[in-house]
Amino acid sequence: MKEEGKHKKAKKYGMVINLDECTGCGACMVACMAENNVPFKEDESNKLDSIAWMRVYKLTNGKSYPEADICYLPRPCMHCEGDHGHSPCVSVCPATATDYSHETGIVSQIYTRCFGCRYCMGACPYHARYFNWWDPVWPEGSTKYLSPNVSPRMRGVVEKCSFCFHRYQLAMDKAYFEGRTELEEDEYQTSCTQACPAGAITFGDLNNPEHKVHQLAKPDNKHGGRPGNPNVFRLLERLGTNPKVYYMSSREWVRRAGDNYLDNEDFAKNYRR
């Protein structure tokens, strides 16, 4: 059963987002909503209950006019692996409605299993998990554009970014049909990656040195996947969540905004722990 040597490495799908190129246009948010049947309601201006698997944050450098600067930061689910092998949200779910796949590195969310305790939301420091406070209602006729690849969620369950896992499934279907078991880099891309007009998002297998994400982030798997590229950082790296979304910025204040630092801390020295 164990055929040593024949094993291919498990995949670890991840993302590198170039914050220098990101324009904050919000296309990723909408591409995600359109792809994943995300519901909407009359008023979405309260961002505390507005479902956006991908949310673009606006960061400011805290300086006064005219030294002020802003930067946008798109935040999908980080698909944390966790330093100790468990992502913050997966281990807390009481009903096994979310899990971490070692095959793809993707954190799933099974809506029919979830009973809405919201513990995972409390566990996630990125606020990447959203609760369906309302039953989703589409205006008359609008259910026509719902995609059959993603099941619409009901009231009372948690949902989040899946790295468009259904696209992986569909790509695998095609691969199987063609007698393959491996995917090409461009065969599986998330909706946001594809839509980004600035081309700021790169998606692929972080374990595969041929993939662009690996080349950009240079993840060090021996040390919780921390980036080898000095311009690359991850959000809240210090918590040990081992996220799979990497950010790239040439601006130090942006990189510093990725995590908490004590005032007297030497950022350059410490930012990767």
Partner: protein
Amino acid sequence: MSTQDDKAKEVSADGVAGPIILFFILGLAASLVFGWIIFPKLLYSQKKQPIDFNHVLHVEAVEEGCESCHFFREDGSFSGIPKLEQCVDCHEDAQGEDPNEIKFVEEYVANGREVPWLVYARQPDCVFFSHAAHVKKAEMDCGTCHGHIGESEHSRVYEENRITGYSRDIWGKNISGLKKHTWERMKMDDCAECHATKEIGTDVETLPWPINWLPRPYEKQTGNQARVKTVKEACFVCHK
């Protein structure tokens, strides 16, 4: 109160035990009849397929067996029940006198209307099922899950669960939920029969485990799609 009870006890000891046992048996029998015979009839509604379809006839006429009509598209997706478009290739005009054939041509072909077939094997929306993975990759037979439908001369009655809206084929014909063959039930446990137990093409690394007689606790995934056995971490394999 206690004195009354005592009296009653005496009475029952004398001659009421008979009726009590009788009524007990009556209740038992009635509930058994209701539970095993009437309940299933109430639970499922019976629907007839719009057209009585003869699989035998068609299988004889085509060359590539099931895949002649139930084929894979180029994108790897599975076509399922054929669209009118495919039927029309042969059935532009009625072939023969069969009333079903005439109904098919007149009502559907002539009007370009799709036949609203009732799908026996329809899974709920939360399920992702890849025909490609099972038929192409794992080279499974259609019959493993679908049974001998290809040998049927008439369409079965479609039974729909009034509570869940599922086809009866999901739970299985047997109301007690027991099955003899792989195709008699299509619930999660049935998928799990292969996915959690059969180590076909396994690509996992079992962690060291000192106690050999105990089942192994946890297997670390090292490979990829190649294996069938899915451990606890694989919800997304079958769910969407």
